[in-house]
Every structure is written in C-alpha cells, then in structure tokens.
Subunit: 467 residues, 2 copies
Amino acid sequence: MAQATSLPRNETGIATAIGSLKQQFGDRLTTGQAIREQHGHTTTWIENQPPDAVVFPQSTEEVSDIVRICAAHKVPVIPFGVGTSLEGHVNAPAGGISVDMGQMNEILAVDAGDLTCTVQPGVTREKLNTFLRDQGLFFPIDPGANATLGGMTATRASGTNAVRYGTMKDNVISLQVVMADGEIIKTARRAKKSSAGYDLTRLMVGSEGTLGLMTEITLRLQGIPEAMSAARCSFETVDDACQAVMATIQYGIPVARIELLDALAVKAANAYSKLDLPETVLLLLEFHGSESGVAEQAELFGQIAQDFGSTGFEWTSSTEERNRLWQARHDLYWATLQLRPGSKALATDVCVPISRLADCAREAVAKAEELGLMSPLVGHVGDGNMHMAPLVDMDNPDEVARTEQYVSWLAELAISMDGTCTGEHGIGQGKRPYLTRELGATMRYMAAIKAALDPDDILNPGKILPD
Amino acid sequence: MAQATSLPRNETGIATAIGSLKQQFGDRLTTGQAIREQHGHTTTWIENQPPDAVVFPQSTEEVSDIVRICAAHKVPVIPFGVGTSLEGHVNAPAGGISVDMGQMNEILAVDAGDLTCTVQPGVTREKLNTFLRDQGLFFPIDPGANATLGGMTATRASGTNAVRYGTMKDNVISLQVVMADGEIIKTARRAKKSSAGYDLTRLMVGSEGTLGLMTEITLRLQGIPEAMSAARCSFETVDDACQAVMATIQYGIPVARIELLDALAVKAANAYSKLDLPETVLLLLEFHGSESGVAEQAELFGQIAQDFGSTGFEWTSSTEERNRLWQARHDLYWATLQLRPGSKALATDVCVPISRLADCAREAVAKAEELGLMSPLVGHVGDGNMHMAPLVDMDNPDEVARTEQYVSWLAELAISMDGTCTGEHGIGQGKRPYLTRELGATMRYMAAIKAALDPDDILNPGKILPD
C-alpha cells in the first residue's frame, strides 16, 4: 500500500552499527527474521517493514550508547514497546535498529503522597495498575490494549477514561529522554505545575519516537474513587445517542467513561464476549466519585438519556458486572474482526468538536453503506472521538480501494468540522497525508523542530512528517 | 540589577523598521517616551528597558505585517498585553518594537455546546468572564491580576483555581500564531483531543513571546457550578496548615481553590481590605459542585483541618462573603506593599512536589528571618506552589543584596526538592540563571528549538534562554 513506501537505506552504516552493537550487546542484539518481523508488526493493515536488527537495552545509559552508535553511522533508531500501535509506527522504511524497551520494565518509584510515579518505558498499563492497587491508586489512561507507558506517551494515547482524566498529555509530569545525539536529559522537574521554559514534556508526548527516546516517565496518579458504577442504555439511532452524549457533557456531569457502540459493534461484542445486550445503538458509561455523587450522576444521566428516547437504562455498582462490560469493550477490536473472519480492520480515529459529533457519525455511517463497506462504529464519544473500523478483505483490490477512499473521505469530513484525523492513534505512516491536509503551513515548523533536534533524521524516520 | 543587562542594538535596522511601520500604522505607532516606558514596565523590581516604539495592530494580518517588517531588518518584536508580568517579560534589552495587543480584544466566538471560545490576545480574563456569565459558562484560570489571555497563555499562567482546573497548558485547545517569518499558522483544530503531530499548542503556551505572537486563542470553558462555597480556617503554624493541605489533596477532595496566607499576609489583607481575620496562618478554600457535593467536600475538609489542629473553621455559600474573601486574596500583592510603604515586592514562585511543601515553606520562612527580610508568604498550596515576597527597600544596597541571595537560595531549595523555580510566573529576564540550574543540558535543546523557529532571534530576545 501507498503508506508503506520505502526510504533509501544506508547499507554500510547499518552493517557497521550492527557490528558495534553486537560487540556491546551480544545476545541482546538479534538479526533473526522472525524477531525482526515481529518488531515491524503493529495492529494495522499497513505492510510490515522489519528493522535490520533488534536490540534489548536494560538501562538509560545503554539506550544512549545505542543512539550514539547509530548517530555516528547515520542509522535509523526505532523505539518499540509491545507493538499495539495502529498506524505503522514501528515500521522501518529505511531499515535500522529497533530498540525494544521490554527489558526496561521497572516501576522506579511511587510517591503516593504526591500522587506521582516514575516508570521505565516498557512497563505496561496493566502491570502499573496491578502494582498500584494496594496503595489505593491508579493510572487512569486506558487505550484498551495493554500498551506500554512508553508507547502510550509516544502516541499521546487516551481511550475510555479521557473524558474525565484527560489524555497522556495531561498525565505526564516529566520525562527522561535520550536525544538524537545520545545526550540524556530531563524535560522538567517533578512539581505539579511549572512555567520553566519551553514545554519539552508536551513536545515529546505524541512525538512518536521522532524527537527522542523516552527512558523514564513520571506520571500523575489518581486515588481509586470511593465508588464506581457502570450504566448502559440503548437508543434507536446513532443520532439520538450522540445527542444524549452532547447534552451530558454540556450539562457538566463528570462522567468517567461514555462509550458508544453501534448495532454492528454490539452484535460483535455479544458474539465474542458472550453477552446478551440489545443489538441496537448502545451507550456504556462509568461514574467515579463518592457513593452519593455516583448515584447523583447516574440519576442525572438517566434523565437526559430518557429525554433522547433511550430504553433499557440500567446501572450497577457490582464490580464483577462492571468489569465484564468493560472487558467486552476492550475486546471489541478482536470481536469485530470475528464479524468477518480473515478480514483486516482499519481503525479510523477522527475527533470533532462535540457539537458536530452527531453529524459526523451519521454521515460516516451513511458513507460506509454507500461504499458497501462493513464498518462497525465505536467511540469515546464524550470527547467527540469516534472509530469507524471497516473490515477489509485484503485480497479484494476494489474493496481495498473503496476503503482507502473512505478513510480519506472521513479525515476530510472531520477536518471540515474543525476536527482532526486522529484523536488518539497518532500519525505514524498511515495518517501522514491527512496531517498535511489538516495543518497546512504548520507542517513547515514541525519539520523545522524535527531538523533542529534530529538533524540526520535518524529517529524513527518516515513517521509524522511528509518525506 | 544584573537581570536587566542590555543586548547589542541594531540601530539602523530599528530606525528603518520604525519608518516603514509609521507609513503603515500612522498614529497607531508611537515613539513617545511615556508610552514606551509604560511598555517596558511590569510588576517587578527589574529595571525598565523601554522599546523604541509601540505599535497597536488591529488584526492578525497587521501583526504579520509588523513581524515581516521587523524580520526584514532583524529588529526585536516584543508582544505586550497589559504588563502584569512579574519577571520583566516585556522589557526590550536590545530595543525594538513593542506590539501592544490592546486593540485586538474581541471575543470572536463562544461555542457553548462545545464548551470552547476563541478570543483575541488582548481580551482580559475579567472581560471574558463577564461576557460568559449569562451563558452559564466561565473560564477558570485566575492568576489574580486582570491579565490578558494572550499574556496568560504566553507565561503558562495558573493561579488560585489551578488545583482543580489545571493551568493554561490544560485549557488552551489551539492557537493562531504569527511566526518569526510572518507566516500565520494554526497549531491545532478545535477538537478536544488530538494526536496530530507535535504539540505546537503546548510548545507555544509558556514560550513568553519568544517563538511566535499569538493572535487567536481557543480556550476550554467550564459550566458555572451549580453550587460554590468558601471556607476558611486558621492554624498555629505554616507546617500544620501545609500538612492539612497535603492530606486534603492526598484524600482526593476536589477542592477548587486552597490558598495559604501566613500571619504577615493576613495582617496585610486585614489592613488593606478591611477584614478582621485572625492574624495567624490562614487557609482559604473554595468548593465547586452540586449542592450536596459541595457540602460533602466542606465537611470532609473540616475534619482533616481539625486533625491538624485548625481553629475557626467557617464555611459559607453566600456569594457576597465569598467574593469579599477572594477579592482580598487577589489584592494581596498591593496589600503587602502597604506593610512597608515605598518598598518593592519581589514575588518568588517556587513549586515543589506537595509532599515537600511543608519542608519548603518552613525553611523558606526561617531563611527570610535569618537574612532579616520582611517577607509575607502566600501560596497556591494545593499545587505545591508558594510565593515568598520579600519587601525590599531598593535604596539599601545591602538589603537588595540579601534579597538577591534569598531568591537564589530559594530557587536552589526548590530544585533540591525536585521542584521548580517557577510554578506560574515564567522565566522572563529575572529567572534565567535559575532555569539553567534547574534543567542543565536540557537548555541546549530549548535553544535549538528557538534557533529553528526564530533564527535571527527577533522574537522577545533576552528572555528564557541564557545569552
């Protein structure tokens, strides 16, 4: 596909760098094909472009050594978490060295009194939350997949809890970063607020490995709420559900999660997760707060939902039932693939101002039908973020072409509504054409920053910026 | 003072640029001394370095024209809001053109359904909130002074409400910016979330006019809470009060404001604002939420405060009484100056992880006493942000020297606690030495970004970065 064009390779440099790295890392550097292919693999339809070698550092100093060696020979360096990205972020279009952070997976500090922790980039979100639970703390950002915190930081991830707790940009306090010249820096101190110069923390969050390799991440934590409850209700149309979401947000109810599934997505969830939800448009919610606060929120929401014709409003504070529903939501990617075995899903990721959400969803569903695409709709609708995920038969060139047409059309639609082509997945390889459409002349200054911080373009080349 | 060293002036370029600007702007360009001096003036002890001319644009295109003319002649451009900054941000150490945004003061759009608005940079926070009130909305960031939103964005301001609503970094959605070459860009679309490339919005927020001139600011708004109540209580020691704050934050009570005043600050407030608060350490709080939520929060806080020996806990939902207390808090800068008529106040601005707040406050008060400085303490303590504000007789060189020693010592103390020399005021001219102490090698990459985006260093030179 077009998205996976190759870039010129520096064969001599790559061979020399691999030789040097082999000397230092021994068995922790591999050039075996299976491992290389796995490190070009993401949850996507974009073709695999494996790196030339994969190295497994165990410390910040080792990451710095790797970058210095690669910088000396102008060889690409591609950081790797667990490969849950959706836009080909870990592909190696110019070859080079994949830096697998899997062995840098220590939780370095939990400062419960400050509601902060510091982790290495290979720690996964589930590992962190399991570790924190006994202290009554949690890290709220939840993209669904059990991604690493390094990967989540690199893509500015968010997910189901963002409507209340924000995205990675709101929850990273400071970073330790290995820069393109191998220098190790801290972007900020551990204070909650700072006006200390340029916000390099936020510049690194979402930079997808193209400006530096994060080696320590200091995160903001939350106390586990006194009470949590889940609710669900059904609507006849996507439009009605979106109107209810808009009213809920505008009313100021501090929902922790508010997710939409269309009838097709519900059908997939029922089949995959053995549920018996009504197979029509569904909103799934979660409320966090005190016992009385949670009840108040659920009641208010119930009234709003009813105003928009919802049926079957149910809420529960049972942990087991709550977890079952959210597990089904998390498994939706896999569930929808089962709607059409053998297909690939192309997860789009537009995000629009919430007042345009109903329009966006309605038009997106109609266009998919018009193009004859089977496409479930799920969305973090409280933020105006929705995923149409066409299920594509990759052996059918006409269908692939219609899907590409759809993805491009949808990005344009969101942009025409003052929205973005990506609310949380990032640009990677797949969304580069749309980013330029979205931001125009702004791209020149992004390119200037990239050139200033990585003059030889060794850090994850071929991502975010146009070639 | 050392902070206000001059930089080399480009006399020919300045004269030529003023000539060109005069042609285009006529009476909206002035070189009169009084206006120039006013535009170098900030609320600070740093000496005045007036620009060579002040120009008053009325549109983004005019700002672009100004920057293009100045860029062509390599002449400094210094954006100006209303001059409430505390660190000499609007001084012109190399001369140049002050761009007064006062005539760009339109509220361009309020999208109530999206909880966003777009304003020109010269709109003040009070003007915006007055405009929003009828729609049941407000913009929460409140640095005390009636600053412009352009200035607040440029310094990454925060203030009393930040403990609940975050700082400017959390509340700016996108920016229109005139870059150093005169190009007009948008940093992002109006969607609430985005993973669309480098976060230029956050890079611009807090860049103090050194990377671009903001000409439109899209902000996140909040619904006015159903209920608000204020509370106050007194403590024997700063330490007890800080311990109560730490416990409140750790407990997760969503206080909207939690401010500390030491006995000296309370004395100043009583005298200036005609109050009769007990003249000992005071915490002032505000709670936002539903009627029952607000009562619940106040009760929980009251219990915690009592555990740390507080006395005189009172809470009120009377709007009048609430406003009287917060007006007194906002007037504190002027009130403390009256403690020692003729003195200047040097507002320090350290911010530390909250677990270190009590230590920081205790040591800071003791050191001020040791150095014989009269220094009230106020703080946005819920964020670990505190201001010691020594009142200095500028005609007493020994006292000035002791104050400089104190300010430097306090920055080091905060840094040693993994905190920052500035929680919200920014770096400007005054804090440049401490920023380098705080971030070390990181400064090199800030300088690289500055050089990439403003290669001739025309945008507010002599600020943030070392010479």
